[in-house]
């Protein structure tokens, strides 16, 4: 299939840093950048900052075609996203492999999420194949796309419109060396897990998003009510953002909201126990226990429900069902708890 010649810069030689006056796309047609498989300390710092949500959308690599090692026209071509974590996972997994990497412009989003949104998609892949004049760079017509790019990429469309055959590689870049031996993936390479390590790395981003709110709420409650209650606020929030991702598979029930309610109730028990040791009267203690268990678990549960967006397995139908089932329950528990706490406070004032 002959590549369409682009209106300008069509004479730029491959790899040549030809000055080009085209405006618009950042990719100069025919330009090939060079990369390697080394993860530097600067890369590691960038990954760390990305995990902490610092300059969240700024962890990008320049889209376009890259040369890894010393590729020949027969070397494989891999597609990736222009998110540093995605690109770096790919190039470091390909240590010792001569290949081309075609980086799509996913606006700094990882492959899977970008595929869900369509930016890691059929249109963008075809656009980049044409813009980089890939058909002149390699003699074959195959491109290895990460399996998790499949929600955005239709192999039929890509073949029909670009002449390139999409080969869906394994889920994880780390499995590529084994995959490349036979170009077949084992069922394990085709399935997504959500192990402890993958859950833990998500905690910082969850945390930095709620920290400002949590700090304000804790201080307000601390100053206007008391510091014990402030500690409960902070505990409920940390349970939903830190403990929940870590303990996810071990908390009973399937629904995230009910898991969150269970966890939220558990972390309130030490407070209730400490209330019982500080000489609260039985009726005061009972009131304290009931209000604590009504007000705080819904906070933890709400944060837990939000974590569905970061998991690798929750369906939209299921999450929607959870929202419809539990939103009112959570709001109701919280509201009744607040009213009850206020009523008990007023009664105690009257008694004393």
């Amino acid at each position: 299939m002959e590549p369409k010649s682009t209106p300008c810069c069509s004479s730029a030689p491959d790899g040549g840093a030809a000055p080009c006056s085209c405006s618009g796309p950042a990719t100069v047609p025919g330009e090939i950048r060079t990369t390697d498989s080394v993860i530097t300390s600067a890369n590691r710092l960038d990954h760390f900052l990305a995990r902490w949500g610092v300059n969240r959308m700024g962890h990008r690599v320049e889209p376009g075609l890259y040369r890894l090692g010393n590729p020949t026209p027969e070397s494989p071509v891999f597609a990736s996203a222009n998110y540093t974590l995605s690109f770096d996972a790919l190039r470091s997994a390909l240590t010792g492999v001569d290949a081309y990497i075609l980086v799509l412009d996913t606006k700094g989003i990882n492959v899977w999420c970008a595929a869900g949104k369509g930016t890691f998609g059929t249109e963008e892949l075809i656009r980049k194949i044409e813009a980089t004049r890939l058909s002149l760079v390699v003699t074959h017509r195959r491109i290895i796309v990460p399996q998790l790019g499949a929600p955005g990429i239709s192999w039929m469309e890509v073949l029909r419109r670009s002449g390139f055959r999409v080969e869906f590689g394994p889920v994880r870049a780390a499995d590529l060396p084994v995959y490349l031996d036979t170009h077949t993936a084992t069922p394990a390479m085709r399935t997504v897990q959500f192990p402890l390590r993958d859950r833990i790395v998500l905690i910082p981003v969850e945390l930095v998003q709620v920290i400002p709110w949590a700090v304000v709420a804790t201080l307000v409650v601390g100053f206007f009510i008391n510091w014990m209650t402030a500690a409960q606020v902070l505990t409920a929030v940390l349970a939903g953002t830190v403990l929940f991702p870590a303990l996810l598979p071990y908390i009973p029930t399937k629904d995230f909201t009910t898991k969150g309610l269970v966890l939220g109730a558990l972390v309130m028990l030490p407070f209730i126990w400490s209330g019982s040791t500080t000489g609260m009267s039985p009726s005061t203690l009972a009131g304290y226990a009931v209000t604590s268990l009504l007000v705080f678990p819904p906070v933890t549960a709400f944060l837990s429900l939000n974590f569905t967006g970061a998991t690798t397995f929750t369906s939209r139908t299921g999450v929607r069902k959870e929202i419809f089932t539990y939103m009112r329950v959570m709001a109701g528990m919280f509201g009744v708890g607040i009213v009850l706490a206020a009523a008990l406070f007023v009664i105690r004032l009257g008694v004393v």
């Binding site: 969240r56 990882n110 930016t119 990460p146 993958d198 998003q209 399937k254 629904d255 299921g318």
Partner: protein
């Protein structure tokens, strides 16, 4: 009880299936398995509605309502009344969804 994830919108038209196996390749949760005449839904409850199978089925035998499975996006959708739920990680970088990033 307490399991909202048992049913999904995934549907397979076994009449149309030509047994090419691409759905088995792209599915990240091993929902499909090889059957006698065509693929079968081996674990439909594991479906996360990502839509990869529908997008790549050459004969249109699979339908699923795919979309962002993100509570925050859906709550925002419910509040703002917009038709489609989009997760905020597309530009504003405010949402906790799409936190996963180690994926190739």
């Amino acid at each position: 009880m307490f399991d909202s994830y048992r049913k999904t919108t995934l549907e397979l038209d076994t009449e149309r299936c030509i047994n090419c196996g691409i759905c088995q390749t792209v599915c990240p949760h091993a929902v499909f398995a090889a059957g006698k005449k065509g693929v079968i839904l081996a674990a439909p409850e594991a479906c996360m509605e990502c839509g990869a199978c529908m997008k790549n089925c050459p004969v249109g035998a699979i339908s699923v309502e795919s979309g962002v499975g993100c509570a925050e996006a859906m709550i925002r959708q419910a509040i703002t009344g917009s038709k489609t739920a989009t997760c905020g990680c597309g530009g504003e970088g405010e949402s906790s969804c799409c936190g996963g990033g180690a994926n190739e």
